[in-house]
């Protein structure tokens, strides 16, 4: 074996350590014929080794776009990163030469996607596609790369790895395909793994297995995990911290327990009320009324105000905290919790 560290557990994660990844005031826009779509508007977060950060939001909230910006795989045009920085181990990926940036993808940061079937190339065997990581980044020979691929397939618990290494993606089940994606992503021991809705396309039982696998791998390697999802259950089970996104901004951030038990933003509050819960069986679900905003025309002030039951307009608002004119900054509302609402204290107290 050339890589004995493959199966050995890494040192225990240190959640208080310096961040391995920092996103600072990231702005991404799409220039389309219909105008400029502001997909990400000043998102900042950081991720420590061994930490699992869930990024929660509806479709179009900018969660996937910000992840793709980190990976440097946005389609540009039409996408353009118009501001901010993305620091991996202290180095800004956005100012790095393209070739340097490329070398971070895989060994530094890697990513898995929602639909493993379309995300794997149909005309190459899974072994080839996993082995490609070693060949491209380490110059490993084809034969050796395949050996590594078999080990990785074992590691992500694909039964009969040796026999299946030459099979094609379409010959695997959905869960196994996602494992292939995971094997590919962790091949070079990345320090950060971004999982973009990794279980959305899978059956519920398989979802749990895949999430367990991700958690186990994270424990073994100490990598940071960014979990992009709209599934509150998954967040609750696996994440340490959560950032809730709305209209391309982070509207609330804190530990999962805090945020889930006592939301500080009306949007988060609405999300929690819209989830069926066993103890409330028979009760009514409370959907958030209205539609997510059009990112080409985000409402002035707080982007959530048109849908917010607690909004305060001119008449009853405090000065400088009028919901439809003043943009609420993301601010510390209680220790360890940030929210972007003028009236978070009231939401918390409710």
């Amino acid at each position: 074996m050339t890589r004995p560290d493959l199966s050995e557990p890494a040192p225990a994660p240190d959640p208080t350590g310096t961040p391995v990844l920092e996103v600072d005031d990231l702005h991404v826009e799409f220039r389309t014929r219909g105008g400029v779509v502001n997909a990400v508007n000043g998102v900042s977060y950081s991720l420590a080794e061994g930490e699992t950060l869930a990024i929660l939001g509806e479709s179009g909230s900018g969660k996937s776009v910000s992840a793709q910006a980190i990976m440097g795989i946005l389609d540009s045009p039409p996408a353009r990163i118009t501001g901010g920085g993305i620091f991996f181990q202290g180095r800004d990926l956005l100012t790095m030469p393209e070739d340097e940036q490329r070398k971070v993808r895989g060994p530094g940061i890697s990513m898995i996607f929602q639909d493993a079937l379309s995300s794997l190339n149909p005309v190459y065997s899974v072994g080839f596609q996993i082995g490609e990581m070693f060949r491209a980044h380490r110059g490993t020979s084809r034969k050796e790369a395949k050996q590594h691929a078999i080990e990785l397939m074992d590691r992500v618990r694909i039964p009969g790895a040796r026999a299946r290494v030459n099979d094609y993606p379409h010959q695997f089940s959905g869960g196994m395909r996602q494992r292939v994606m995971i094997a590919m992503a962790i091949a070079l021991d990345p320090r950060v793994l971004i999982a973009d809705e990794p279980t959305t396309a899978l059956d519920v039982t398989v979802q749990a297995q895949v999430m367990d696998l991700l958690k186990d791998l994270q424990r073994d390697t100490g990598m940071g995990l960014i979990l992009i999802t709209h599934d509150l259950g998954v967040v609750n089970e696996v994440a340490d911290n959560v950032a809730v996104m709305y209209a391309g901004r982070i509207v609330e951030r804190g530990t999962v327990d805090d945020v889930f038990n006592n939301p500080a933003h009306p949007y988060t509050d609405g999300l929690m009320s819209s989830v069926p819960q066993v103890e409330h069986k028979g009760g009514r679900l409370l959907p958030i009324i209205g539609q997510p905003p059009n990112l080409a025309a985000i409402p002035p002030g707080c982007p959530f105000h048109p849908r917010c039951a607690r909004r305060r307009l001119e008449a009853d608002a405090l000065p400088g905290r009028v919901c439809d004119t003043d943009v609420p900054p993301l601010r510390l509302v209680v220790p360890g919790r940030e929210a972007a609402c003028h009236y978070s204290e009231e939401v918390l107290g409710a």
């Binding site: 990976m71 440097g72 795989i73 389609d75 490329r102 070398k103 971070v104 993808r105 895989g106 060994p107 890697s110 990513m111 996607f113 639909d115 379309s118 995300s119 794997l120 190339n121 149909p122 005309v123 065997s125 490609e132 990581m133 491209a136 980044h137 094609y168 379409h170 994606m181 590919m184």
Partner: protein, 307 residues
């Protein structure tokens, strides 16, 4: 796969019989009397005419004529033309010309079409993309007959870059006819490649390839082109058969002594045996290359299996 190929080959037999029957019927239905026309201004004597009619079964009812022809064919006898030349000899002599013309045309079509299509697809809406779009639309809109005469006049006669007709200059004489023959397909290949590349570039697995940190070259060549060229290769394969049959106009305009030219002459002289023999051969090539394409398709795309 072996069983599949065997079954497909077996299926060609009824197709060939059906095709030959249709062609035979069409030649039979042509107006005029081929034997009387043989002598031109000095008609053959009635006795000779009667003898020829007897020899070529022209007095028999249509169906009997066909059955007799088929009976000979099964024994490997392709028959003769009215002058007593073996049809098989004609084929042997003329096939190489048509094959060379087709090879040149396919090479032009594949090389230029794919390169233009790939470059256009990678830089969508760029200058080259628009150039390919405009020029391919123009080419597709011009009938091959017009294109052939214009090319012959402009490049052969006015500029003198290419021989005007005949095969006196070896492979070089096939270049201009080859371009004319390939033109329509070339435009189609460029468009097909362009669309396929552009579509694949947006594909999820290309995004994955980029996320893997693969060099740009690898992302394009290995993860985009390989997939994009599957429909293109299958089209080009199937086009071999089409071009061989389509060579009739090109060979006639450029006076190339190939099978297409032979068919043209034979139709005018109502030489049933010659027309049926050669056109059935075209049909066979067409079926054969389509089979090759289907097999190739399974090789290129592991999702396709014929079991």
């Amino acid at each position: 796969m072996g069983r599949y190929v065997a079954r497909r080959l077996l299926l060609t037999i009824p197709v060939l019989i059906g095709a030959s029957f249709l062609i035979f019927a069409l030649v039979y239905a042509l107006p005029g009397d081929p034997i009387r026309a043989l002598g031109g201004d000095r008609p053959l004597s009635p006795a000779v005419q009667a003898e020829l009619r007897e020899e070529f079964n022209l007095n028999d009812p249509f169906v009997i004529q066909y059955v007799k022809y088929l009976g000979d064919l099964v024994q490997g006898d392709f028959g003769t033309d009215f002058r007593g030349r073996e049809v098989l000899d004609t084929i042997e002599q003329r096939l190489p010309v048509t094959v060379r013309l087709t090879v040149v045309a396919i090479a032009i079509e594949a090389v230029i079409g794919i390169i233009a299509g790939v470059l256009a697809g990678i830089r969508r809406n760029g200058f080259l993309d628009n150039l390919v779009l405009v020029s391919s639309t123009i080419i597709v809109s011009i009938p091959i007959l017009v294109l052939a005469f214009v090319a012959q006049f402009v490049f052969g006669l006015q500029f003198g870059w290419f021989p005007i007709a005949g095969i006196g200059d070896g492979w070089y004489s096939y270049l201009l006819p080859g371009m004319v023959l390939a033109a329509g397909s070339l435009a189609y290949v460029a468009r097909l490649t362009r669309t396929s590349v552009a579509e694949n570039l947006r594909g999820d697995y290309v995004r994955t390839a980029r996320a893997k940190g693969l060099p740009k070259r690898t992302v394009i060549v290995r993860h985009t082109l390989r997939n994009s060229l599957i429909p293109v290769v299958t089209f080009i394969g199937a086009d071999i058969g089409t071009l061989m049959g389509g060579a009739i106009v090109t060979e006639s305009v450029f006076n190339l002594p190939g099978l297409g030219r032979a068919v043209y002459d034979a139709i005018r002289a109502q030489e049933g045996a010659v027309v049926v023999g050669i056109v059935t051969l075209f049909v066979f090539f067409f079926i054969f290359f389509n089979l090759v394409v289907d097999v190739l398709y399974a090789v290129l795309d592991p999702r396709i299996r014929y079991d």
